[in-house]
Symmetry: C2
Subunit: 524 residues, 2 copies
């Protein structure tokens, strides 16, 4: 018997096995589609790639457009290629890829940007498709097996699968025989709508509160297609000196907190984003004197395998395995070592405020920039241009025991290596507010803002986080704003609305945010 | 036996009864104080008033200053009078009163503005007093009785009492014999720090998950002072035509949602703020065809008594009873009718994301203003001047099933009855982001933003919510911003940073936000 038949243990479903070509005619222009997948892992590949080929071959660009609802980003060979072929109308709630970003920022693709925990449940409530009766037409779910009772065993992520199968009229399974059977690595809680939802009985990162498979009305499964496409693994971000300096600042802070009794010796469950700073932080933990660590997060990168290897990390709960191709190889080769230490959960659980706050996570994320009062921009460069989306950063930063944002203090512009300061007087777009953030870190230092009022926060952020090239500029702004606003008795959080964006104007005009003075004359 | 002795059922505590004059010397300049109380109810009055008298009589203004940590605002005869006597250095996390606001906006009082659910737990973690070992010097707790085992029976609010008694070195009880014994009206869960916190086993608004009293180490109780001061009851906000039109828009929306199966017939647990719009909404519910209603909120106003009287409201969970003096009289007179239908919880439970999201609350709050992309300003008029604080609005709006903000479309300026639009191109301060809000309402109409991308949101907000006097002005801005940003391929959420605050500049210069055109010339 073939591996495909072996993996479909409910044999009555064998009759629904189809070739990819047979399912393509099911897809009609304007449909709402839900895919499995999360931060390129566990997404359907065979059908999306075949549909793209079909559009390209038949010149159907702009004539076969879909609304895509997926846990988060998926591989560029799927959604980004779809964007390049004008196959996407709406896209919720997060994406990556040059073509899809171009489509969004040029007004061709309508992207909705929502906290991931809310995305999952609002999708399940039918809010995003309320004009279609709250339904989606087709769900495409990558699985590694189907149980005797028709339960879906997912692959390298859980994403928003429970909600998608709940509201999908039809379901197509991509059964991926090129990956191992992931059975036992998932913990799925069926989404129950209020007012009948019950507590999530998770009080340790390794607690199981659900089932290892996704329950689904099997009558909805109209086709099972074999896939042999591997995930398009995430490339490894190299560390650099700046990232390492940031990580060192965070390690020093952790040790200080342990010493002062505000953190246990093994810290608290860690959430860490992706990219070079996150890698440096994980690298820092591997060298630091903390053992018995736990992780409660959305994505595991290759560095987490190192931390598991080191024996310092006990357990990791995640939404997805976002490994490089080499990372997946390692994971598969040492399956018996890694698998008992990892659990994947849907984002409606992993990102839910309930366990994040109960467990007391330490959240660490990178913004585009933050301002002197600790408002952070995570999504829109220059205040208008979408990069990826807010993702789960708000879920974690609002609910963590410690909410930490880290960024280099400066980035290069096209003409000035220090042309962009990541600490600004006023963030041009705000995703996380002053009410949410505890600690801000750059390679310059760490500002612990807990218990500080706005003006005290601002001075500490300037002192600790701002690059020396910008320190006098931003200090001058703050002093000026304080003086003018306090004189007018409106100075709880001083700002000067005729000047607060001068650095951004100067960047557009002169290629750098380094300004000579704060003089501005405005006529209107 | 006196009523005071009757109420202190643990008789060994009788020896700690003191006169208010005896405890005044315990208070030293620079101390951290925690008070019971929440949105003027259940706060200590005898000692704060006596301390103010002491400062006034002895000319100690500025020489006896305290850091005040209280669940939310308390009566003006206490904190606002303290502010007028320069008795407050730091104040966390919310306040009301002209003098305290003046102190904050003139830079004399340092206010920290935090989501109430986070305030409670961060206070308990010792974050706000970390320079003093995470402790507070004295907690002053208003009680209506003490049990045989020394449990504290609170009065008309729970506030942050469990966290305050946990970190207080010393506790003084104000036992208020002028109010009934509130025993049985509170449900207190002892705050346990991560990683050992357990689920809150609340899945209905009337579920009890704790004890009817606050457990406290009785050795910390250094004095019990009798108080006969009633709460300074909240004045009733009169309704007006604008509020009623807003409420009608919301009732129509609820009926539409029920009809479309997205809300059950008895709706979902309601959270409603304070003020005239909130009163109009509750009044609207009394007239609407919904029965079996439930409330999960922070404050109960007089109108909730009407709703209970009408038989349409089954049960209300709250942090405090924020009645007028007449409302308290009604409540006490019909105690046997009201008491079984009301439960008070600490804000670490009532405002926690966990029950709010599980129960699927409908959150309704009034901002200062919101912008065309659904970012809302709840705290700082003009972007810099503090009014009260964010309170629990973020706890509810981030976690509700439906997040609704309502405001009049315009407010008068000093010289123009339509001088201020509450829908602006860009909010000058942001407390709630586009990722949080579902529905925006003015007397003009209701914008249901679920499932809409930013530019679609903007058009709907302009169409439904903006006052006719401002519609052409804001439409012109949006069209112009869209055109310029899309041409530059940076148009996910178009803004023009050289003009976005022109209406605010015009208000400052010419007394109105009604501008003739969007022309601006800037030299820098």
């Amino acid at each position: 018997m073939s591996e495909l038949l072996n993996r479909i243990r409910k044999t009555s479903l064998h009759s629904r096995i189809k070739n990819v070509e047979e399912v393509l005619p099911l897809f009609k222009d304007g449909m709402n589609l839900g895919w499995s997948g999360f931060t390129p892992a566990g997404y359907p590949k065979a059908i999306p790639i075949a549909l793209a080929d079909h559009v390209e071959k038949n010149g159907l660009q702009g004539k076969l457009r879909f609304n895509l609802f997926i846990g988060a980003s998926v591989g560029v060979e799927t959604e980004d290629r779809w964007a390049s072929l004008d196959m996407i109308d709406r896209r919720w709630p997060y994406q990556t890829g040059k073509n899809i970003q171009a489509g969004i920022n040029e007004g061709r693709i309508r992207m909705g940007d929502k906290h991931l925990s809310l995305f999952a449940q609002d999708l399940g409530y039918g809010f995003y498709t309320k004009d279609s009766g709250g339904r989606i037409d087709i769900g495409i779910i990558e699985c590694s097996a189907i149980t005797e009772d028709g339960g879906l065993i997912l692959t390298a992520s859980c994403g928003a699968v429970p909600e998608i199968v709940k509201i999908a009229d039809k379901i197509i399974i991509e059964l991926n025989t090129s990956v191992p059977n992931y059975e036992g690595l998932h913990d799925i809680i069926e989404p129950i709508d209020p007012p009948n939802r019950l507590p999530f009985l998770i009080s340790r990162v390794d607690d199981r509160a659900g089932t290892p498979y996704v329950r689904v009305d099997n009558d909805k499964i109209i086709a099972i297609v074999e896939s042999t496409h591997p995930d398009n693994g995430r490339a490894f971000s190299e560390q650099d000196d700046t990232s390492e300096a940031i990580a060192n600042n965070i390690m020093d802070f952790f040790q200080f907190e342990v010493k002062n009794g505000r953190l246990p010796k093994n810290l608290l469950p860690l959430q860490s984003g992706v990219g070079s700073i996150a890698n440096a932080v994980i690298g820092g933990l591997a060298k630091a004197p903390f053992t018995g660590l736990k992780v409660w997060t959305e994505v595991l990168q290759d560095t987490m395998l190192d931390l598991l290897d080191s024996g310092k990390l006990d357990f990791a709960s995640t939404v997805s395995l976002s490994f490089s191709n080499g990372g997946f190889k390692r994971f598969y080769e040492k399956w018996d070592f890694y698998a008992p230490k990892v659990l994947m959960r849907p984002l409606s659980i992993a990102n839910a405020p309930e366990p994040i706050r109960r467990l007391g996570c330490i959240a660490m994320n990178t913004p585009v920039e933050f301002d002197i009062y600790a408002h952070a921009n995570s999504t829109l460069v220059g205040g208008t241009r979408m990069i990826n989306g807010i993702g789960g950063s708000g879920d974690f930063l609002r609910n963590a025991y410690l909410s930490i944002m880290h960024t280099p203090s400066v980035r290069p512009s096209k003409t000035d290596p220090l042309g962009i300061t990541c600490v600004v007087p006023k963030a041009p777009h705000i995703d996380h507010t002053e009410h949410d953030l505890d600690v801000l870190v750059t390679e310059q230092g760490l500002a612990d803002l807990r218990g500080l009022a706005p003006k005290d926060r601002a001075q500490m952020i300037i002192d600790k986080c701002v690059h020396p090239a910008y320190k006098p500029i931003i200090q001058e702004y703050f002093d000026m704003a304080k003086k003018e606003c306090l004189a007018k008795r409106i100075g709880h959080e001083p700002q000067l609305f005729d000047r607060c964006f001068k650095m951004q104007w100067n960047l557009a005009k002169n290629g750098t945010m380094r300004i000579d003075n704060w003089d501005v004359s405005i006529n209107f």
